[in-house]
C-alpha cells in the first residue's frame, strides 16, 4: 500500500466525520465554483450554488444529497450537456467546461439499445470513441464473462433482468476510453435485494480495477460501503455541506455495514440529510 494511502485511511480514522482532507494523488476531475440557475416559467430557480469538488486518480467519490437537490444537473454540467452560469470543470487540469465526451457515463436507467445485442451494447461506448466495431466487440468478451454476463453476449436487453441490464450499462461505461466514470444513481430503479447484490458486485469489480469514479446516490449506506470520500450536498440551491473521508480499509466486505463505526457514520450523515430535507420542505411550503 502506498504511504499516503495508508496515511489517508488509517490516519483519518480518529477524527472521521470531520476531516475532508485531499489525497496526494493527482486530480482527475476538479469542479470549481459551479453555479447554475434555471428558468421555471417566470421565476428563476437556482439549482447549484458554487459547487467545489474533486476526484483523484483511482478514487471513488460519492455525491449524496436530498432528492431534488440538483445532483443530476451537476452531472449534466460536468458532462457538457449544459453550460454553467459560473465556474469551471477541469479534467487533468484542462478546461472542459461545456464540452461533451470526456466522461464515461452510466445513466440512471440502463438505456440499452433494444436492437443491439448485449455485446454490441457494451461495445457502444468504444464505438462512439472511434474503435472499429469488430475490435470493440472482441474487447467486450472477456469483460462480459467477468461481470457475470457470460452466455448473454447475443441476448437482447429485454431478455435480461433489471439488475443484469444495469450491469451491462455499467460495463458500457467501464469499457469507454474516458478516464473518469460518472454514475448517476445507477441502482435506484432496482428492488432492495438486487440493489444490495449490485453494490457488492460493483465493489468487487471496482476494487480490482480502481477507475476514478464520481457516483451519485441518495443512499448513505451505499455511499459508505462503496466510496473513499463522500460529498454531502445541501438542499436547493445545492452547496457542498460536508465532506467525509470514509475511514474503512479495502477490500471491504458487506459485513462491515454492521460495525459500530459504520453505524455511527451512517447516523451522523442521515441526521445532516434529514435536516436538509426538512429545510427544503419548509422552503417549498413557504413559496
Amino acid at each position: 500500500m502506498p504511504a499516503e494511502e495508508h496515511e489517508r485511511i488509517h490516519g483519518s480514522g480518529a477524527d472521521a466525520g470531520i476531516s475532508g482532507q485531499q489525497s496526494a494523488r493527482p486530480l482527475v476531475l476538479e469542479v470549481a465554483g459551479l453555479t447554475k440557475t434555471y428558468r421555471e416559467g417566470q421565476s428563476p430557480v437556482q439549482v447549484l450554488d458554487g459547487i467545489n469538488l474533486s476526484v483523484a486518480e483511482g478514487e471513488f467519490v460519492s455525491i449524496v444529497g436530498p432528492s431534488g437537490s440538483g445532483k443530476s444537473t451537476l452531472f449534466h454540467l460536468i458532462g457538457g450537456l449544459a453550460e454553467p452560469d459560473a465556474g469551471r470543470v477541469l479534467l487533468r487540469g484542462r478546461n472542459i467546461t461545456g464540452q461533451r465526451g470526456h466522461i464515461a457515463y452510466v445513466p440512471q436507467q440502463p438505456a440499452l439499445f433494444p436492437w443491439r445485442t448485449i455485446q454490441d451494447n457494451v461495445a457502444l461506448g468504444m464505438e462512439i470513441a472511434g474503435t472499429p466495431r469488430r475490435e470493440a466487440r472482441e474487447q467486450t468478451r472477456e469483460w462480459l464473462l467477468k461481470a457475470g454476463l457470460g452466455g448473454y453476449e447475443q441476448a437482447y436487453p429485454h431478455m435480461l433482468s433489471g439488475g443484469m441490464q444495469q450491469r451491462a450499462a455499467f460495463l458500457r461505461g467501464l469499457l469507454s476510453p474516458q478516464e473518469l466514470m460518472a454514475l448517476d444513481e445507477p441502482f435506484s430503479a432496482l428492488d432492495a435485494l438486487t440493489r444490495s447484490d449490485m453494490q457488492h458486485w460493483l465493489l468487487e469489480l471496482w476494487e480490482k480495477h480502481r477507475r476514478s469514479v464520481l457516483f451519485i446516490t441518495h443512499s448513505i449506506e451505499e455511499a459508505l460501503l462503496l466510496s473513499d470520500r463522500i460529498i454531502l450536498l445541501s438542499g436547493r440551491p445545492a452547496r457542498v455541506l460536508h465532506e467525509l473521508t470514509v475511514p474503512f480499509a479495502r477490500p471491504r466486505r458487506p459485513e462491515m455495514a454492521e460495525e459500530p463505526e459504520f453505524l455511527r457514520l451512517r447516523r451522523e450523515l442521515t441526521e445532516l440529510m434529514r435536516g436538509e430535507q426538512r429545510k427544503m420542505q419548509e422552503g417549498g411550503a413557504a413559496r
Binding site: R100, Y105, Q109, W115, G125, I128, H158, S176
Partner: protein, 258 residues
C-alpha cells in the same frame, strides 16, 4: 391452443361473413333479374376468372412491375425527405406545410398534366406513384426520428457522440418501426397509383385492361380486374408485414409511454 386453431379462430368469422355476402349477391341478381352488364353475379365473375384470367397474366405482370418500381422509388424518396427535414430544422419548417398541402392535389387531376409534360413512358407513371406513396413514409419516419428516447439520447450526448453517430446508431434504428408502418400504407397506395396511371395512359396493365373492358360493358371482366388488384395490394401488404416481423425479433411489443 395450438397455432393452427388460433389462426382458424380469427379467420372463420370474416370468412363466414364474406360467404353470406356472396350468397346474398348471387340470390339478389337471380331474383331481380339484373342484367349481366350492370351487375354480374359472383358465379359469372368466377366463370370469367376461370376462363379468361390466363390471358391476363401479361397485364398483371406489367402492373406488378410498375407497382414495385413506383413503390421503391416513392419509399426511397419519402425516406430521403424525412431524413433531410429531420436533420435541417429550417427546411422542415419551410417545407412541411407545403408537403401536407401537396397531398390535397387530386392524383386524377395531376395524372393528365404529368402525361402532357413527360409523355406516355414510364417516367410520368413513376412520378405519379411516388407522389402518392412518399408521403406516408416521410411522415411516419419523421415522427419516429423526432420521438427518439431521450434517456438514450442523453447517454449518446454524454458519451460525446457526434450528430452523425447519434443519427446512425440511435435515431435511425429507433425510427425503423415507424418507417415500416409508413411502408405498409405506401405499399397499398402504390398499387392504387399504378392502376390510376395505367388507366390514364398505357398499352398494357390491369388499369388499361379495366378501362378497355369498361368501354365495352364487360362488367364481369372489370370485377376480375378488381380481384387481381385486391390480390396485388394484399401481397404487397403481407410482404412488408413479413419484413416487419423479421426485424422486430429483437424487441418485445413496444410499451406505451416510454
Amino acid at each position: 391452443m395450438n397455432p393452427v386453431r388460433a389462426v382458424w379462430k380469427s379467420v372463420w368469422p370474416p370468412l363466414v361473413a364474406v360467404l353470406f355476402f356472396l350468397l346474398a349477391w348471387e340470390m339478389a341478381v337471380d331474383l331481380f333479374q339484373v342484367e349481366k352488364w350492370i351487375l354480374p353475379s359472383p358465379s359469372d365473375i368466377g366463370q370469367e376468372a376461370a376462363t379468361g384470367a390466363s390471358g391476363l397474366w401479361d397485364d398483371t405482370k406489367a402492373t406488378l412491375r410498375l407497382t414495385l418500381e413506383g413503390f421503391a422509388v416513392g419509399s426511397v424518396f419519402g425516406l430521403l425527405v424525412a431524413v433531410l427535414l429531420h436533420r435541417i430544422p429550417f427546411i422542415k419548417s419551410a417545407l412541411y406545410p407545403l408537403l401536407i398541402l401537396s397531398q390535397n392535389v387530386p392524383t386524377i387531376a395531376l395524372g393528365p398534366l404529368l402525361m402532357i409534360w413527360f409523355g406516355f413512358g414510364i417516367l410520368p407513371k413513376l412520378i405519379l406513384i411516388t407522389l402518392v406513396c412518399f408521403f406516408p413514409v416521410a411522415v411516419a419516419t419523421m415522427d419516429g426520428l423526432a420521438r427518439t428516447d431521450h434517456v438514450m439520447r442523453n447517454y449518446m450526448e454524454m458519451a460525446g457522440a457526434s450528430k452523425g453517430q447519434i443519427f446512425r446508431k440511435l435515431e435511425f434504428p429507433y425510427a425503423i418501426p415507424s418507417l415500416l408502418s409508413g411502408l405498409k400504407i405506401s405499399a397499398t397506395y402504390s398499387v392504387m397509383g399504378a392502376i390510376i396511371s395505367e388507366w390514364l395512359g398505357a398499352e398494357k396493365g390491369i388499369g388499361y385492361y379495366m378501362k378497355m373492358q369498361k368501354s365495352t360493358f364487360r362488367t364481369d371482366r372489370v370485377f376480375v380486374a378488381i380481384l387481381i388488384i385486391v390480390a396485388i395490394s394484399l401481397a404487397m401488404f403481407v410482404a412488408v408485414a413479413a419484413v416487419e416481423r423479421l426485424l422486430s425479433r429483437y424487441s418485445p411489443p413496444r410499451k406505451s409511454g416510454r
